[in-house]
């Protein structure tokens, strides 16, 4: 059985390689149901992390997980195909923004979420987390969320802003540290 290859930091110089034009746009702006998912990536002192990269991967509003090519070049996205994948780097304020649709449940009664991966200089291996939707009726019954303290749970649920956008900050360390995930049988 082959042994896993360990992860390493994305480093400070990924910007010309990984972010792609329109990578933060899962749907064209102004599409029906389009929502901004945005926030900041912060370090243990609460300072912005300006060299982080976030990826999201999600179902469409009907809970369907697309398996469409074209997640990188975005031509399919601009043609109205929902591929469910997005990639965005943080700016000088540690801020990111995705334009997307709110995901639906992938199974009856499941709480819908956007899966997120976090990369950054200074972060030696990538981190996984989930962005749950606020005011979702399924949140209360979700078995995973039920295992978390209210404080921990609050780090995984986006906040609805006045403009209807979803606010989700990633705190790598310290007060309100985001809950990061480990999957069973994985190496890390």
């Amino acid at each position: 059985m082959p042994e896993p290859t360990p992860g390493q930091t994305v480093g400070p110089f990924f910007h010309d390689a990984l972010p792609v034009e329109g990578g933060d746009r899962l749907v064209p702006g102004g599409s029906p149901g389009a929502v901004r998912l945005h926030g900041r990536v912060l370090d243990g002192r609460g300072d912005p992390v300006p060299d982080a990269l976030l990826e999201i991967w999600q179902a469409d509003p009907a809970g369907r997980v697309a398996q469409e090519h074209g997640s990188l070049r975005r031509d399919r996205v601009d043609a109205g195909v929902f591929t469910g994948f997005g990639r965005a780097a943080t700016d000088a304020d540690g801020a990111y923004v995705f334009t997307t649709l709110e995901p639906g449940a992938t199974a009856p009664g499941a709480a819908p979420f956007v899966a997120m991966t976090v990369f950054a200089r200074g972060l030696l291996d990538r981190l996984f987390t989930r962005v749950y939707l606020p005011d979702d009726v399924a949140l209360a019954a979700d078995p995973f969320l039920g295992m978390l303290s209210p404080e921990e749970r609050s780090t995984l649920v986006a906040r609805r802003e006045h403009d209807g956008s979803l606010r989700f900050d990633v705190r790598l360390q310290g007060d309100g540290e985001t809950v990061f995930l480990r999957f069973p049988r994985g190496s890390r």
Partner: protein
Amino acid sequence: MTDSHESEPDDQETISREIAAAQQEDAPHGRRTATRLDFPAYRSSALRHPTKELRHVDPEGVELLAPVFGERDVDPSEADLTAQRGGEPIGERIRVAGRVLDGDGRPVRRQLVEVWQANAAGRYVHRRDQHPAPVDPHFTGVGRALTADDGSYSFVTIKPGPYPWRNHRNAWRPAHVHFSLFGTEFTQRLVTQMYFPGDPLLALDPIHQAVLDPAARERLVATYDHDLSEPEWLLGYRWDIVLTGPHATPLEEQDHA
């Protein structure tokens, strides 16, 4: 702030001592193949590593699948980093090739491999790289490829140079190529770095050494492969990558008797 030592940057001796201490401390726990996130010798990790245990969760919904990339995402020419800017880049031309496999040894097919690296002088094409080494006008240092049906990938590029960074006084990164990989599940996502065999900087580097298990650390180092070399043209390095995921089904012990 009156402590005069505060203004003195750490030296390699200090960093090497911290690396040794971490590896000593980890040894009693047996093999630990994961990269340690809290690795003080990598100074930038101090405020950027989670302090709480990662929470164990069963993957569900989207996490059991991965985004797919296809021919429309990647042009085959993107796998040749020496032919992107209308001229020959300076440096030692190399091929880096290998296979992407899952934890059961199955090929990861038709998936995206992205690479980025410094040029032969150790300089990135990046506005924040201020290392006073030449930028090569014929080298972007960025490439993409899709794995073939047998999980294989291949890039033609220039061997990157080591470069200084500011982790401590006289800190130098070993030559490396950054790799970004997707598997067939979201949980297999991997960003890592490929190093070159025999590099004396590897033992000094807190990023490479944050993989505490020596065997796991060795898996980040490519092998020189003369079969990949081409006469009058380039030298070849082989590097296989193994992605793991929660649903890599263990092979049953087969009784062939």
